[in-house]
Structure formats: C-alpha cells, structure tokens
Subunit: 222 residues, 2 copies
C-alpha cells in the first residue's frame, strides 16, 4: 500500500505543483486539504482546489473553514479595511502577510496527518522568489517540523516537505508543464475572482514566471 501525504492546496499555482510532486514524483496517495479563511478570492480558490484534488485522484478531501483568521485580521488578504497593494513588489513584509498563517495551516495539516497516519505534509512555500513572508522560509519549516514531531504521539512521524522552497516562479511554471498540471485550474490573484487583476504582487509574480519561462498564462486577466 502506498504511503499517504497530506497536501495543503490553496488553489494557487505553487501548491498545485507541490502536490503533483508528492503524487507523481514521490509516489504518495494524496489527502487534499483546503482552507477557507475569508480571503477575498475564497470562492474561486475553492473551485480550483476541487479541480486539482480531482486531477490528483485524492483519496480524501478536507475543506475546512478557518473563519477565525479573518476575525483576527491584520492582513489585506482578509481585512476589507486594508487594500491589496497593486503598485509593484516592495521591500520588506507586505500588508498581505496574514499573521503566522502557515504556522496555523501546518499545525492543522499535521493534526490531519496524525489522524490519517500520513507520512508527510506538503506545502508549496517558496523562499527566494516570494513576497518576503517570514512563514515561508526553510528555517521556519525545519523548526516547525521539530515541534510537530515532539508534540504528537511517539509513533507519529511527519515530514514537512517543501519541494518548491528553492525554486523561482519560472521554474515552477516549467515544472507544472513537465508534470502535466493544468495551470488554467489554478488562481493566484489576491483580489479578483472573475478576471485576475494582473497588478497585485501575486499576479505580478505569476505573470513574470510565465514570461521568463516563455510560456503563456491562459487564465483571464482584466
């Protein structure tokens, strides 16, 4: 029997590629996990999650509501009082940072992994070519993995796997094509659900990745 991996799948490009690596390259059965947390593009991301999970032939899906994240607030992604910046990527930690979001996501995914007897948790964080979020670094992931294995049952052993952490966006786009990920079923825009805005940090990183990979992004843009 194949081992199971819990894959955190946001509906974006990175987590789709990360979970294809878990399935196609690393040979896991996939437990697909998606979080709704009041982000501005929640519906579209959920729709993409379902398509990706289906294409992965996942053995179980968890769609979990984390409404408390928008109750905590403090980020342009969930707080209607804070606008998503569109002027280009700036130095430092942007206002789209959701306090310790990946810590929350990974702790829940680890709880699921312990429950399901899974061997690994896959998360599509990208360190270098990202927006400078502190919870997307190798240093954090490694310390978090230590904490998880200390705080779960002795027989539980969970690897936190970040196959994209050292990649650039263009490499992720290329990897998606290699593995047969349908990138039309992924969504990156922080603020629009029908047509991507093209100007938020996430759209800019995505478009730049396609451009450098000399490939065309077929999702609709405004």
């Amino acid at each position: 029997m194949k081992e199971k991996a819990v894959c955190i799948i946001s509906g974006g490009m990175d987590s789709a590629v990360s979970s294809y690596i878990a399935k196609v390259i690393d040979g896991y059965e996939i437990v697909a996990v998606h979080f709704n947390y009041g982000q501005k593009t929640e519906k579209k991301e959920l729709e993409c999650f379902r398509k990706i999970a289906k294409s992965l032939n996942s053995i179980k899906n968890y769609e979990l509501d984390l409404g408390f994240i928008s109750k905590i607030g403090g980020s342009a992604l969930v707080d209607s009082d804070i606008e998503v910046p569109t002027g280009g990527i700036e130095e430092g930690i942007p206002v789209t940072y959701v306090p310790f979001r990946n810590g929350v996501f990974l702790s829940i995914a680890s709880a699921i992994a312990e429950k399901e007897g899974a061997d690994a948790v896959y998360i599509g964080v990208v360190e270098e070519d990202s927006s400078g979020y502190p919870d997307c670094t190798k240093g954090f992931i490694s310390k978090f993995e230590d904490a998880v294995n200390e705080g779960t049952k002795p027989e539980t052993s969970i690897k936190i796997v970040t196959p994209l952490v050292d990649l650039k966006k263009e490499d992720i786009v290329k990897k998606a094509y290699e593995l047969g990920v349908n990138l039309e079923d992924t969504w990156s825009c922080y603020q629009s659900e029908i047509k991507a805005c093209g100007v938020c940090d996430s759209c800019r990183l995505r478009l730049n990745g396609f451009e450098k990979a000399s490939l065309i992004d077929k999702i609709p843009y405004q």
Copy 2:
C-alpha cells in the same frame, strides 16, 4: 503601559490559574482567547471562560470557532462514536487526545499575539500530573516557541509561558486559592455540563487535586 499577554483559557482550572499568574504575578494585561471546537462540554466551558475573562479584567476577548477540529475527529472529546473513558486513568495516551490540539491552539494564539503586539502566550499545560498528552510537555513547548519566533516578523518576539508545567494538581488548587481564582467558575468534566460526572480522567484528576490539597470542590457532581 503594561505589556500584553495572550492567555488561552479553556474554562478549566489549569488555564484559569495560568492566566491569573500572567495577570497577578507577572503583571500583564490580558488578551483572553477561548476555542470552541465541538467538544462535548462546549457550552459550559464558554460560560466559564467568560466569567474568568471578566474577573481578569481582560482588555480584549477572542472567542473562536474551530469546528474543523471535530471534522478531523479522532478523539473521544469531539467524536460521538468514541466514548469518554470512566474506568480510571490508564497508562499511555488516552482516547481523549485530540491530534496535535495544543499545536493548533498555540499557532492561533501566536497569530493573535503577533497581531496584538503581545509579548507572551500563556497556556496551562501540566506535564507530570496530566493524562500523558504529547502536546503538553516542556520539550514540545520549547520547540514550538522556536518555530513561532522563526516564522513571524523579525520584530515579533513571543514567549510561550507554561507556569503550571511542573506542578501537581494539588499545587494548582492551592495556587488558585492563593491568587483568588474562583474555582466554582471553572469546569473540568469531559462529558457532562450540568453536573460533573466525577469519573472521567479530568474529573478524577481534579477531585484528587482538591483532596490532596485538603480543600473542597464546590461544583456540582452527579
């Protein structure tokens, strides 16, 4: 201005004493956090949380719904298919263990601490005299603290404080009396909300603590 501490307050005895230590001994202003997660005594615990938070004169309360925990399941506390054991405390990790629950709780409390600019997160875990949960140990807390400080903004610095971790239940009962915690406003029973059952592990530990402290527990028992 006083520093702020985020206190995780379940409504039980331990977290009440832990947050009184934050307030009375350590001199913090209290941000009170409570989690509803589909546990069998959810209503009663929330009622106790509100009384405790009020008595602490908390500056802000977060009552957060973590319904996803019962969706994950795997514990007698949240799963109606698994009975709460009442035959006495046994060796090993009991079926009331909720997979990585304190990991989930601490990651959310840390997110709140980062948002609120708080200095510390208090959690009332007890290592020795507990039910053998792996997420209640000093080893876990220390590694989790490392992960939090790695995965949050550079200017964020959060201590995870566990003032009860080395105490026995009788010491906690005595400490409650010293600090003026009204233990009638706390609830420990895992399965009943009107009268405590007296026979689940949590009731047994509580009653034993009162007995050894030569004090009387005034909450109603069946």
